[in-house]
């Protein structure tokens, strides 16, 4: 089992390296992180926090958008591409389970994402530490951001595989992936915010709203990082409204989502008839 997952992971890593996905992911993360830390360094003096903690808070907001996007870009082709190329029937005659194929791809793609995250966050952190000797206090927050980002990425990779299996054509899968990204990462929050405003402290805000935040992997990720670093006060909008949600709840969501996503992907992949 492990050998077959590793075999797929090695092959996917070769493909990603040749297709420049490693390079693209790393460059994206580094560029955006550097831009953010340059822009975000201005107001740090007034907040009384060390510079690295401020950088991590900014990176959290960035990662909510960027990590799912990069993950979906890497994964939308995973099954649909094999179907379109005609490589799937042969692969499925090998003694390898479908979930093992997906797990292998997940290992490789998550690995690439981790490389990109370390490069991007590392570059931003380096600048923060150089500029502020007290920044070492923020290392814990940075570490927390890194591993939760990897889990967020794994979640969206799994979702990407599921969409790829459902669409069966790469172009359709790309459309679904972009739509899902917009829905979960952008519109979801806007809709919740609008509902909270309209509800004005009613049943929705107290009962339904926290559950809705935890159900969305991107929101759970942001919530966990902001709650853990007690930065909710500095955050705006949704983050501030969700201060009542306990840390362990968002942690469970962050930890469970990658498994749920892989499970969904396997279910969708099983339905693909070569």
């Amino acid at each position: 089992m492990i050998a077959r997952i590793v075999a797929t992971a090695i092959t996917e890593a070769h493909i990603a390296r040749r297709n420049l996905w490693v390079l693209i992911a790393v460059v994206l993360m580094v560029v955006f992180s550097l831009v953010l830390s340059a822009v975000g360094s201005a107001p740090s003096g007034g907040l009384g926090a060390d510079r690295l903690s401020i950088t991590v808070a900014s990176l959290t907001s960035l990662s909510v958008y960027l990590v799912p996007l990069v993950a979906l870009l890497m994964s939308f082709d995973a099954v649909a591409g094999e179907v379109e190329r005609g490589t799937l029937p042969l692969l499925l005659t090998y003694p390898v389970a479908r979930w093992e194929i997906l797990a292998g791809k997940l290992v490789a793609h998550t690995g690439i994402l981790v490389v990109a995250l370390v490069a991007g966050y590392g570059a931003a952190a380096l600048i923060a530490v150089v500029g502020d000797p007290a920044a070492a206090a923020g290392v814990g927050a940075l570490w927390r951001l890194t591993w939760t980002s990897a889990l967020l990425g794994a979640t969206f990779l799994g979702i990407g595989y599921a969409l790829s299996s459902l669409a069966r054509r790469a172009s359709g899968a790309a459309g679904l992936a972009i739509g899902l990204w917009l829905g979960l990462v952008v519109l979801y929050d806007l809709a919740l915010l609008a509902a909270v405003v309209a509800d004005d402290g009613g049943i929705f805000t107290t009962q339904f709203f926290p559950a809705a935040l935890l159900a969305n992997p991107a929101d759970a990720f942001r919530l966990f990082n902001l709650t853990a670093s007690q930065a909710t006060a500095a955050a705006t909008g949704i983050g501030a409204a969700a201060a009542s949600i306990a840390l362990w709840q968002s942690l469970v969501s962050v930890l469970c989502w990658p498994l749920v996503a892989l499970g969904l992907a396997t279910l969708a992949f099983r339905k693909v008839q070569p």
């Binding site: 190329r85 490589t87 042969l90 005659t93 090998y94 003694p95």
Partner: protein, 298 residues
Amino acid sequence: MTSTLTISHLTKSFGGVKALSDVSLHVAAGERVALLGHNGAGKSTLMKVILGLIAADSGEISVCGAAPGGAAARAKVAYLPENATFHSALTGLEQITYYLRLRGENTSEAMALLEKVGLGHAAKRRIGTYSKGMRQRVGLAQTLIGHPDLLVLDEPTSGLDPVSRRDFYALLDRLAAEGAAILLSSHALTEVEARTDRLLILSGGQMVATGSLPDLRREAALPVAMHVTARKGYDADILAALPNAIRVGGALHLTCSQEDKLGTLAQISGLKNKVTDIDVIPPSLEDIYSHFSRRDGQ
């Protein structure tokens, strides 16, 4: 001889259209069997059912003593799809190494496998730069991994040049001699005639003929054609002697049944002063094939 692949009364339909109806066949260990049929006759569907890629509606299938598509069957079966394709970013060596890993075999065999199919020189080039024939040979190399008991080959020689085809069949002969059962589909009739033990003809989803080529030839009982060239001026005499002959260009054409063949020849040799040449043309494999595949309403 033990049967490696046994199928009885297999039926499969797609949305009400029968792709395969009541198909039965068996392939024994060491046997090379060719599956013939028009495009859309059901060859690829039959192969996919054998591989477990699609499920049958009814019927029984035993692949190496196991259910098709199960882990036990997949470990013993090798498949070459029609127009084998691979990820263009991988090298031939990486692709074969991947397949070796999936089968739990030693990855150091990859180079030897590629050399066996004549791709040693291109092993470290990306498959995207390969010709169709080279990709087909990568497909062939992966079927040789781990001594499979059953090889299912969908038009294995399409895209191969004549020399590669000969090498391919030599490879098959060796595998069959080692006890592998081989089921291959092909459009190249003359090729399978010489290099397989038995033919199966599929038409409109039904198995319309099975047997060796001499068996099928006998069963079809197609007429034999003869072309007689007359000595100058004797055409009319010959036409009178052979009433069913017709004039085609400069020659006289006639046909007769298999049983009448010797009698007709004797009759013609009786006219030897008036005949300069005679050609006897037995029904070709194409004729036999179309005879069987057109029967049953096609």
